[in-house]
């Protein structure tokens, strides 16, 4: 399902902080103001 959209990202997205594979933390708030591609995948 592909959508070309113009809708605000969920507000709570900017509160998300997730562990990086290197052992750090990525806060999505730090990406605000940039173009961002979220690529969500799994090893299955």
């Amino acid at each position: 399902m592909t959508e070309l959209l113009e809708r605000a990202a969920p507000a709570a997205l900017w509160d998300v902080a997730l562990p990086t594979v290197e052992g750090g933390t990525l806060r999505l708030a730090d990406l605000r103001g940039k173009q961002v591609l979220l690529f969500c995948w799994a090893s299955w």
Partner: protein
């Protein structure tokens, strides 16, 4: 195998230069309400979602790459998120699938059976949720996923499960 450990071989093979996070609690799945993976979601500088493909997003897919490249090169010049047409719509993530994160936490604690039971209950209520369905498969049939993914087996397994419990 789950989490960073599972992702590392893939990242090394892809020579990934971008930040990679592990979303064990399925935070992004809950926010965007997706039930499929892999997904591509593009946000512009204003935090507006300009593109979302839930299921089948791939850098090997020319149309996916072209769509992202168009957005990258267009930037947001002339785009006013306050008065855009159609207007920006703040939307909640939709159906929740936080059962995934709950089960992963149980799995992390070593309670595999309770984790699978929680996922099965969630899947029964939401049979189109392929994130949960595949998670069950990966735990119950790891030999079909590691070191290589048996996609033909997945198709057969889905057919078997649909036959046993038609949607």
């Amino acid at each position: 195998m789950q989490g960073a450990e599972a992702s590392r071989p893939w990242l090394e093979r892809a020579e990934a230069a971008f930040p990679t996070v592990v979303d064990s609690a399925n935070v992004l799945g809950d926010l965007f309400g997706y039930k499929l993976i892999p997904n591509g979601i593009f946000l512009d500088e204003h935090g507006t979602v300009r593109f979302a493909k839930f299921g089948g997003f791939s850098v090997a897919n020319e149309s996916d790459v072209a769509a992202i490249e168009r957005l990258l090169s267009a930037g947001t010049s002339g785009h006013d998120p306050g008065s855009g047409e159609p207007s920006s719509v703040a939307r909640d993530g939709g159906p929740r699938n936080s059962a995934l994160g709950h089960g992963l936490e149980l799995l992390r604690r070593g309670d595999r059976d309770t984790a699978v039971a929680a996922w099965r209950e969630a899947l029964a209520a939401d049979p189109d949720n392929y994130v949960i369905r595949k998670q069950i498969w990966a735990v119950e049939h790891p030999e079909r996923f590691y070191p290589t993914i048996a996609f033909a087996w997945q198709k057969e397994q889905l057919a078997r499960e649909r036959e046993a419990r038609p949607a």
